[in-house]
Symmetry: none
Subunit: 361 residues, 4 copies
């Protein structure tokens, strides 16, 4: 496959194990499909998606992240067509999707009925949703199948058994979670260990310099990395754009920050103008100064800081232009600049290091 | 799907979880296929069945209950044809069937041989019967597979393992029981828990204002709801027509009551004319008065009383005309009229509240 | 030990296994301690108790049944003193007691507090109650420790674990239940089998020609004998005296029937004078005729009918005079007269045979 | 026991099950031994402790809470002497202690060595610490043995096994936790369920109108009550005195608030004078107004609000005078005044209701 446009200074891709599993993914991966606009189900690959996917592959990215709930299943369809079109070998790539919100998919009915059994983690929806997702992807299996949210309305044993069923059917190799609490992951492992079943190997939370509680606090305190070998594929490494610095001089009403679908980003957007927000902007300014001193830029520093954390298996990024993909990959070269001194300086600027496990002796 | 004939005052359908499982079914569901008459296996859908199924779907009913033993497998064939013809999406509906009496099916041999291995809950019949039922339904799986009766002649471990086998093959999502005793359900759960297998999530008993012992007595005393999260899909909500009031002035020999196949209804029919029967008719008259005072009618009150019980996941009704479906669904609007005072009044009129768990301290 | 007063025609005692366990008990045993009157805690053995215990032992009875709740612990004290006084060898006898109602014991406080943690089957009460019972019995262990009632307020796992703890401490060899339902016994076995613990080997219900539902109906339907090897030590073989025939000509208000503590006997006493009662008296008259024709008497026939049932490990009788003990033991000789024909005749007279397991194929 | 000083208007004590266990404790219990001052180990019972213990018992309190770490083991010694002196029957009372901080006890070595193996939840310390605690208590067992804190430095399997060992030795009937996170409790249950061992039945957190996150947020979200039947014995019902209203007009440097050992109370004390503190004082003023309108006082309202929560098995209070015990017990009579309207009003005044489980469908 030709890869003529790769910048000559692009660092070599790094591959990491997904937690304690034997699966390896590129430290930077492609997701965030909502940014591709055009959700028209016309059987084509939008130009932007085409270009970004190619750039990603050429840059060494092997991990592509979808969800049944992204654009009503459209992200999976585009992904499926791209694999076909580019002639990628199945064993060269790692493809994931996520099950929870099937109700927006055209494969499901519309009307009041569409939230019944087409959402959540019932055995019925996990199995039916996975089959439909694989059809859209034109694949017989995904590498990782995520539970896109926890479902307190379904017993954990039903959830764990259903993911194991899908794995046993050969429709997924691993299963993981997204935005689950430490307690919920612990419960899933308790069930899996008791029944001799496969537990979730990876969680997908938001993680960035402004959103650290789950990854560095809750999961650390629960010793999930150490005990279950939990891997992390994280989204929002740049905090919905805040860590690009683009809101340092104000936040337009129609900015992506204000229009984000992500719950955490929305909650941050709601604080614009408050003391809390201003304090955050001060921190971002501090980071920017550090970045410039290190001879890089703010987004690269923020991305490198995420990658510096060895519990992160992959940072998932979106892109609307191939150049963005390359820019992101370049952050790999910044990681080695983050020595102990710089890390401490960043802590001082941010002042938001979460508490891990409390020791009483 | 056009639904031009839906009454404008039809209440919105309510969906309930099947016990503690993650599966949701409409609080009112369609079954009772024996009433469709015409058992001719000519590949068509009888007009009445066609109209009732369409009405049910349009009214928000998503749960359709069959059995290999209903009309010799004919109910499953009609259901399968209807799904195809209406173009219903598989994940929009919940379809169940039941295994026990395969002997009446044309798929089995006739003659004296037809009761050997074509009845009961042997591993052989559960697996063979399910495959044949799926063929008749033209489906690759049902949502719930019921054991249509207990089978004391087969060890419970064989039964539990066989239902788990079928689930593991992807031919059913959940399994349940019908007309099992609390002790038998307990035994099944004991086996399932010991072996790390899936236990029965739902039982299908008869339940109505005249037949309360299992649901409010035996299962309550055994704490099956609390301990196993047992759901209930119940049949005979109107006690074979007794709770419509149509026998208040006498029971013709050729009435449905006298000709019912249901064991309980038969045992009641045998009492016509006795003191016990007369006492029952007095209670029904008392209910009718309450219904009229509430501005509704006797069958709607009786159905609403069933739905008021939160252990009931779905009340299964039969219908021979679409209007009957709509009448039944209207009972949903009556549930909220059954406040504490009305419920107490009903208890006084009926005088048949079962004892739950006995406490000795 | 001298045994001068034994009637020369006393049949040899029969010993039966307690269900599928390796323990053997006399088919007739002594309990019913409330009839000894004199509950004075003066360190003596009442004369009647002394004489009856000696007669029982001499007649070959090896099983003596107490309870913490009988006469506020007094039955255990008398039993303990008797064992000492007679110099019985511990391994010659089988002693049981029962835990549930510790609140009446002087070892516990009086006042409102005495129902807290001194009743029921919490781990605390099972362990504390057993220790106190053993003190009263002056024994280091009982052979069988019964749960005197089910306790729906304590999780079954706590109950099963606590009885196993007591067994593991060496304070009991076996545990059993009294007046538990088939579902509760099933639940206990489910827990025990899952955790690799010891399940209850014996149940103690009331059983006689007038009270057959549990033993011949519920337990049979649940296949408890066959699956768990459940043994039965039964009380009330003569239905609180009804089966002696003494109420055939009327029931005095101060009769034992009217004053019984037993729940079932009370419920029967409440029917005196009704059609139900009269029907029962007719049956008793029929039995009496059969007894006379067989050259025996009504109580011996009723007792023999209990012993004829091979699921009965022992029939527990009370006695206030040694002669009663001997009369009861003589019933052993009547059992062989109950051939198939006589048993059918008895069924015809009684007309109350319970339904066992229902077969649907 | 004479109880001459009990106020005539003292409400009857309420007893509650400890979670789903069969053990019952008084809804109000006595602990907080640090307030007794006098830690001199002279073999006596301090006058204040003597009077408070007697008042508590007379008021119907049956649950007394100690810890190896309270006053260097002194609380256990005083408790043990009191049980002896008052002649309390062991089965009338529920005594608990907690293991974690053995290092302050004179039974352990002094010097740098005293933190090695005398703290935490190693098998060694759990077993050794329990034996020493029982010696101080002059008891052969406690009813509940708590892990006084989580110990991330010991594997959970070692902890769960050690508590089960102590229970199997007969030195405790139940085990629980104190200040554990939902994830840690979940991990303990996962281990217990997998190995067929006994899990923790109760957690002891701080809980009051100002400190609600664990009880109403974290544990609720993790469904610990529902899934594990977790009971709660809570401390600090009055938030270290803040909810008595005594700091409404300022906080003296030598006040108990400023000198508390409790971590949470310390963190609150650190905020005195800030906006956060002032907002809290406003809420307390609002509560006081509600209390006065209901004809009660602020501390009684605050205590009643704790008791209103049905997940609370017991609220542990300290006392330095018998009158305080009686005052606290009187709060039981206030619970029934907290109807839906009042509860909503309290929510409005407090504005700190935690989020429970998040539902995404």
């Amino acid at each position: 496959m030709a890869s003529t446009n790769i910048p000559s200074d692009l660092p070599e891709m790094e591959y990491r194990f997904v937690g304690r599993s034997g699966l390896q993914v590129s430290a930077i991966s492609l997701g965030g499909w909502l940014t591709y606009g055009g959700h028209v189900d016309d059987g084509t690959i939008p130009d932007a998606a085409h270009a970004c996917l190619k750039a990603a592959y050429d840059a060494g990215i092997n991990f592509f992240d979808c969800a049944e709930g992204y654009a009503g299943g459209e992200s999976e369809k585009v992904m499926g067509r791209a694999i076909k079109k580019f002639g990628w070998k199945r064993n060269d790539i790692v493809v994931s999707t996520k099950i929870f919100w099937g109700s927006g998919n055209s494969a499901f009915s519309s009307g009041p009925r569409n939230k019944i059994n087409q959402m959540g983690l019932s055995r019925k929806h996990i199995i039916e949703g996975t089959s439909l997702a694989l059809s859209r992807l034109q694949l017989s299996y995904v590498d990782i199948l995520y539970a896109h949210r926890p479902d307190p309305l379904t017993p954990m044993e039903e959830v764990v058994r259903a993911f194991n069923h899908v794995i046993n059917q050969g429709q997924a190799f691993y299963w993981g979670t997204s935005e689950w609490s430490a307690t919920q992951i612990e419960e899933a492992w308790g069930v899996a260990d008791r029944l001799g079943l496969i537990g979730p190997v990876v969680e997908q939370p938001g993680f960035n310099l402004l959103q650290r509680e789950k990854v560095e606090g809750e999961f650390e305190a629960g010793k999930l990395y150490e005990r279950h070998g939990l891997g992390l594929t994280v989204f929002s490494p740049l905090a919905g754009g805040i860590l690009t610095g683009k809101y340092l001089d104000g936040v337009p009403e129609d900015s992506r920050l204000k229009k984000s679908d992500d719950q955490y980003i929305q909650s941050v957007a709601a604080t614009v103008g408050t003391d809390e927000w201003n304090k955050k902007m001060d921190a971002v300014r501090g980071l920017k100064a550090i970045a410039e001193r290190l001879g890089t830029n703010l987004p690269a520093l923020a991305m490198a800081w995420v990658l510096k954390n060895r519990n992160i298996s992959s940072a998932i990024t979106g892109a609307s232009r191939p150049e963005q993909v390359f820019e992101t990959v370049k952050a790999l070269a910044v990681v080695k600049k983050l020595d102990e001194g710089v890390m401490e300086e960043i802590e001082k600027v941010m002042g938001n290091k979460p508490k891990g496990a409390m020791m009483f002796r």
